[in-house]
């Protein structure tokens, strides 16, 4: 028991655990839609394109999350705008924005003497989460959950039947832009926990695992959140006791969760196939 309680003496651990849990919930719930709508690539891209925003904010000495927010929103809207008429395929537009912005971020980083300052952006720094960061993370988490609840029927319908959406005058592109904006906000919180390079894992892996375990949307959101929160907390404890990188530990536990879900899915499959008949 002491093993679990001991680290809680430290405020940075308490804040870190809370942040990991909240980010887990935000990323995993939104991630379910990202996975179902096959937007995994754009989630990863958004995480990377935030780099120049963060570096710019650092150079200008403003809040790093503010810079990330601006870059994330610009990317989300930019990708949607470039590919809206199908002149450039969406995955191509994402590929171009993703690498271009990431390169810009690295270029900006190279103008600074010490590269080390940016390692926490690339790989996360959950133990460095401040009170302000935690407030922002809480805000984003609440916003995601409220938005998913308020717009659940529109998100669902535009995902599985965009034609019917159009027939009834529901603009699928507006829903998509909205989703991209939420995605940008979520990715920013994810960067605090696991960093630019690994954030898409928090979005995709728990949701993909949940999708293997249930075919009900509400349960999918719950299971994905549970996996993400569990991984966040467990990863943080592991890094505390074994002095290993917390972001990588969290992501690896998510991956392990996916592997377990996959095994369960394989074991269940024959019976499931009979039920479908």
């Amino acid at each position: 028991m002491n093993l679990l309680l001991d680290p809680l003496r430290f405020e940075f651990m308490r804040t870190g655990l809370l942040a990991a849990a909240l980010v887990g919930i935000a990323c995993a719930s939104l991630g379910v839609y990202v996975v179902l709508r096959r937007m995994a690539f754009i989630g990863d891209a958004l995480a990377h394109t935030i780099l120049p925003g963060v570096v710019g904010a650092y150079l200008l000495k403003v809040n790093l999350l503010l810079g990330a927010l601006v870059a994330g929103l610009l990317t989300a809207l930019g990708i949607g705008w470039f590919s809206r008429r199908g002149e450039v395929r969406e995955d191509t537009a994402i590929g171009i924005m993703f690498t271009g912005m990431f390169a810009l971020g690295i270029l900006m980083m190279s103008t600074v003497q010490s590269f080390r300052d940016f390692t926490h952006i690339l790989f996360g720094n959950i133990l460095g989460v401040t009170g302000d960061d935690l407030a922002l993370i809480t805000g984003v988490c609440v916003l995601i959950l409220v938005a998913l609840w308020l717009f659940s029927k529109e998100l669902e319908l535009t995902s599985y039947d965009p034609v019917h959406s159009e027939v009834i005058g529901l603009r699928t592109d507006w829903v998509r832009y909205g989703l991209l904006v939420l995605l940008a906000l979520t990715v920013i919180t994810g960067i605090q926990v696991v960093g630019v390079v690994l954030t898409s894992a928090l979005l995709i892996t728990p949701a993909a695992a949940a999708a293997l375990l249930t075919n009900r949307l509400s349960r999918m959101v719950l299971i994905a959140s549970a996996i993400a929160v569990g991984s966040g907390v467990a990863g943080l404890y592991l890094s505390y006791y074994f002095a290993i990188a917390s972001g990588a530990a969290i992501v690896l536990i998510c991956t392990l969760g996916f592997a377990v879900a996959w095994v369960i899915h394989q074991l269940r499959r024959p019976r499931g196939a009979e039920e479908a008949e």
């Binding site: 005058g169 999708a211 075919n215």
Partner: protein
């Protein structure tokens, strides 16, 4: 409805306006797999049941999509006396099954409820009337027992019934049905034929794309023959019924292969 999906698109029917009146110069996307249509004139009186007949690629679906406001068109299309898209809640469109992502996790009941969304709009939550409409539609299509089933677990015929139930749940006056009989089992065919009867009894208008020549006379009031994107004369001996369409120029198109 406080937050309609499209604020100006809920006009009421003009008195005595035909269900559909159109002179379409051209409709369709350039370079799209959906064939374009040219010079199609249409006049469908309210309450009529009309079949669009023709081989694959004839433009049957394109005409329906143009009337549903899904593809751009040149010319004039009026639904109940209003331009396309001005009275969305009065026209229900049944897509071909392949247009829906059946792997998405929603229940049959939830899918059918989507027929009510045009009336609910943003933030609208289904009320008692909506649940009644959904239950009724499920009943009519004889899939009430599947209400809680995930759409991914349905057979092809069941998918088709669920989509038709959604169109009925909308309680629209005009039904645009894109090949509902395509590749479905005999039981589903019978259910759909019953639905068409029921819809006629209610005085609603039906436009349906179909391959099924055998039942034209029994199920429809009029038939329009299409080939390669234009109106063609009916094949000898084929059912015609009400005259509901003509080529705009007066000259019917020609069909390379035998029409239908």
């Amino acid at each position: 409805m406080p937050f309609s999906y499209s604020a100006h698109h809920h006009a009421e029917a003009l008195p005595n306006a035909p269900a559909v009146s159109a002179s379409i110069r051209r409709a369709g996307y350039r370079g799209s797999p959906t064939p374009a249509i040219r010079n199609v004139g249409l006049n469908v009186p309210s309450g009529a049941r009309v079949a669009f007949v023709g081989p694959n690629g004839a433009g049957k679906s394109t005409v329906l999509k143009a009337i549903a406001g899904l593809i751009p068109h040149e010319g004039r299309i009026e639904v109940f006396g209003h331009a396309v898209n001005r009275c969305r809640h009065r026209a229900a469109y049944l897509p071909q099954r392949a247009e829906v992502d059946w792997r998405f996790p929603v229940s049959v009941e939830r899918l059918v409820m989507a027929g009510r969304y045009v009336h609910l709009g943003w933030f609208g939550r289904p009320g008692r009337a909506d649940h009644t409409a959904v239950a009724e539609a499920l009943e009519v299509l004889r899939i009430a027992d599947l209400a809680g089933r995930q759409i991914g677990d349905l057979s092809g015929g069941q998918q088709q019934r669920a989509l038709l139930a959604r169109a009925l749940a909308q309680q629209a006056d005009l039904l645009l049905l894109d090949e509902p009989l395509n590749a479905v089992d005999a039981a589903t065919r019978q259910v759909i034929a019953d639905v068409l009867d029921r819809v006629r009894a209610q005085g609603r208008t039906v436009l349906m794309a179909t391959h099924d020549l055998g039942r034209l006379e029994a199920d429809f009031d009029g038939a329009l023959y299409l080939c390669e994107g234009g109106v063609v004369p009916p094949p000898p001996g084929a059912f015609v019924g009400l005259t509901i369409g003509a080529p705009l120029s007066g000259e019917p198109g020609e069909c390379a292969e035998e029409a239908v």
